[in-house]
């Protein structure tokens, strides 16, 4: 049924994060041995972002869910640092913003020192992040 007029529309990243959490239903994604290392490569998500932004967001959300993502954050920051200025760096920055900001701050996270852990709170009605 139609949602009420007072409903606030969520952002894309929020929607993707919630959607993925619903699909995975509390369990981290099981892609088999070594699949956790996919998260270590910002380049992987950079290419995915260039191929299809929505698909990249879903993949990222799925792979981040209940997984440690500190190495991805570090490699993303490194990519931002070494991205060329001007047009040349736009694509990298776009992907980095998706990884670093959009999904990081949409997916509820457990911030501990330099380690970022993405977790969903069971029963959370809306995704939110907090720093500890």
């Amino acid at each position: 049924m139609m949602s009420s007029e007072n409903d606030q529309f969520r952002t894309t990243s929020e929607s993707v994060a919630l959607d993925t959490a619903h699909i995975l239903d509390g369990k981290p994604l099981n892609g088999g041995p070594l699949s956790e290392f996919i998260l270590d490569s910002f380049h992987f998500f950079n290419v995915a972002y260039s191929a299809s932004e929505p698909l990249a967001e879903y993949l990222l959300a799925g792979l981040c869910y209940r997984r440690k993502t500190d190495s991805l954050i570090v490699s993303t920051l490194h990519a931002i640092y070494s991205a060329p200025t001007g047009w040349g760096g736009n694509e990298t920055l776009g992907a980095a913003i998706m990884v670093r900001f959009a999904l990081v701050f949409c997916v509820p996270l457990d911030f501990s020192g330099l380690t970022l852990v993405f977790t969903f709170y069971e029963g959370a009605e809306s995704p939110c992040g907090y720093a500890r």
């Binding site: 949602s3 529309f9 995975l24 994604l29 088999g32 490569s41 698909l55 879903y58 959300a61 799925g62």
Partner: protein, 769 residues
Amino acid sequence: MPCFAVTQTNREEKMLNIDCQIRGKTDIHEALATMTEVEIMEGNNKVFCDRCKKNTDTVLRTAISMLPNMLILSLKRFDLDFNTFETVKLNSRCAFGQTLNMKRYTLEGLEAMEQSGGDNSDENGVSPMDTNGGGVAAIADPLSKLPDDEYEYKLAGVLVHAGVAQGGHYYSFIKDRSPSSEDQWYRFDDEDVTPFDPALIEVECFGGKVKKETKWPNGQVHTVESEQYANALMLFYEKVKQTGVTEQDPEKAKEEAKNRPVLKPEDASSGYDVFQPDVRRSNATHRWQTFLFDPEFHTFLRGLQGMCTMPNPDDPTTPPRVLASSEGPCKASVIQMLMSFFFDIMLYASNRPFLNDWVGMIEDLFSKDRHSATAFVYRLAAKTAEVSPNWLRTYLLDCPDSAARNAAIRIFTAALQSCIASEDERRKLASWSQAFTDELSRFGNCPPTVLPTTLGVDFRHLEDPQGFGASATSIGRIISALNVLIEAIPRAWRYNPELGCLVRNMARVDPRDGGDVLRIAMCQAMMPARLSALVAREQSNKVVSAAFPGASVSAEVAETQMRPESNPVAHVMPIGGNHVMTPNDMNTRGNGTPSPSEYLSIFEAIGSLANVYGVAQVPLVVETEETTRSRARYNLSKPAIAALTTIFQESCAPQGPGMGQREIEMYLSKCGVDSATVPTQKILDIMAKYPSTGGNGGSKGNYLSLEGFLAYYKETVQSNESRVCLAGVILVQCLPLLTHFVLSSLYRSGWIYIYLALGPTLRDARVIR
């Protein structure tokens, strides 16, 4: 003191062919005339005179002293660009005729012209290209006293080069000169020999520029001028009046024969004997191919295939009639033969008018008959032990034809889908998955070492083709083969985005039909990690790089290791017709790095393997055969209708039979359209125009019905802009959480991701709030 004794010295050189400089020349006569131009050797270039014993001013000239029976003219199209010092190809127009008179380029001809006080220019106004005679002017031609037939040639063949200086393709047009023929011309292009109309020689061989006109439906004509990259490189002219041994002076011939060294019998061979076995083999191949690619034969096989899928007239629910168990041996043989024909012959044909029919029928057959599908999967898996007959390798790694690859993928998917539905196959595959896990456990956690692609010796029996009927799993073997191919892919990248499609299709098999078992097996075989290595290449995590060295090799290194048969240059030139090359055609080297869009199927495969099943890519619209004012008409695809139906149901008024005015306003607001900009009258017009419901006895209702909603979209998708908007609408509405998408970035060539609504199956569609 000048040398007053005018002397003439001739120095003869044998030439295999005559090189013709064509830069700045419009036809072959201009090029030949350049060859015979006189050159004054004076100053530092004076030539030593034997009579005067000193260097003297000299006139140097090249002329032909004796004409061969077969005259070969080589057009110098490859030249050095002095600005870049790179070899370039001259594609300028150089005309040549069906006949060629060489009189004016021979020693006799030049002397005759000199004696008459003329030069070798066309001062009498008769163009050498004019083969119809010179009329009155020809009477004064000093060359007329020389007999024409001694110098007359007819065009016998043209060697064409299509491409650029750095690469291209050679083929020939050759006239059949056998006595019984009627001057029929043929095109010889690798193994293809096809009749050729000599009237097209100008278009196909002269070079130059060609204008192509495109007429738009609004009447506007767009003209593009482009160079013809296919043009003649060598011309073969045959002498009309052949000079041979028989025409020699008999006494002289005898004398020559005496002085000739005695040859051994093998030395006296004409060379024909050497080629005879090859010719026989080629002829036999040609006969076979003529038979195998004969349309009638294809029709016969299609009929046979149709019989295989025909329902049993007695009981339509049982397997097709020909495939009934009572006809088992026949069934197996027919299906096996049809599959061999399809994969080994039909997919190699250049003309495949019924390819879609074939694929559709085979898919239908496999979906209805699991035994046939299983037999095919067994065979497909068994073939992975070989190299050349390996269909997986051929169509996922080597085949340069995307239509053939796609057809193969569809059939592989259908067969695997049907096969995994078998309880027995699921059980065997589960054992195989466990074995793969055990195999990997030997390497410990996160090992920086190469990981296996197939099961080791201890578990090899689980994927041994000999045991497919017992404990071994054919699907497990296929997964192992895919692992091997992923390791080899970077060296043949251009031809295999379909490998990602096959993995994606396998990962999307319905869990109720064994999809979960298949997905787990592929994950245990580390397919997601392997595919990620393929994307990230040398920038993969070091553990992944070490585990999959082949998949993670950098694009630059992979390019240097490309196998010759997978060289992208090999297939860029089309077989037929002169072709305007695109930058992609020419820029075939140095582009080993795939573009991100080429990875799309890989990402979909990873997403599907990871159970993030909102990554289905489906067409929203399908083009119909109908046209309106020369424009194609579109229909909504089934997934689009399903998605729009969900949207409609979500947007209906509470307890209402459809969408009222208020709901339409809210709907537009959700779609990103500001309801303030949409006049109420427009909404009323929509409700009036399209089927509605819920009226109070009147002809029109107050609510837009589902039929009306779909009819509205069916009409609006006829324009491209609307199709883009529709894509956005479906996306936003299928997942109402996604409300702020930038529509333009989502629409890619008529395809769009419909999230969630397409879950594992459509009936699982749901909306999360």
